[in-house]
Symmetry: C2
Subunit: 112 residues, 2 copies
């Protein structure tokens, strides 16, 4: 077997830096392909290909408006990644403990 398809899940789709850039741009709002091409400075067919991958994993939606296709981000598939990574958050994040502390204090105060 070769490497898992980029379209197999959000993990693989987002591993590509350019696709992350595209999502960052689309997070600003709905955009036609030409706008992405301009901001990214890459060939249009390449952008279309990346958008196809993002579409297949559900990270973007398309809406047709005349001869333009308006793309919009849908972050929900990122939850899988968030959930998986969060399990190891304690390793690096000091605030991880802080949140526990804060929530604990809040609970204690409720008992006052």
């Amino acid at each position: 077997m070769a490497r898992a398809a980029t379209t197999s899940d959000a993990f693989n789709a987002v591993a590509e830096p350019r696709r992350r850039q595209i999502l960052e741009l689309l997070a600003e709002g709905e955009r036609p392909v030409a706008a992405l091409v301009e901001r990214l400075g890459v060939a249009q067919p390449l952008v279309s290909k990346h958008l196809r991958v993002l579409r297949e994993v559900g990270l973007v939606n398309v809406r047709e408006e005349g001869r333009r296709r308006l793309y919009r981000m849908d972050g929900r598939p990122l939850q899988d990644i968030y959930v998986w990574v969060s399990r190891y958050q304690a390793v690096w994040d000091e605030r991880f403990d802080l949140v526990d502390t804060v929530l604990g204090e809040l609970k204690a105060r409720e008992g006052e």
Copy 2:
């Protein structure tokens, strides 16, 4: 160009399901290669190769003990992923707002 190397960053290293499994096992504690081979049920050379990738992105450390190599997880490189994904957390996580609420209430209570 082809796809970015699996060793280029944590994003790419973790895109492979088997490598995520390995990290999950190593999260339980330090383990020799043989233990991973047994739990994963895959060929030893393949496990060694995956470990190499994880080592190159800093997700695991090795310690030599006789003829065994004890691998240990280091979650820190996952922070990059966490940080990136967290930006879009609001999209799917209701508790995102909840945390804001809780912290806000705590702050309000402090003013009592």
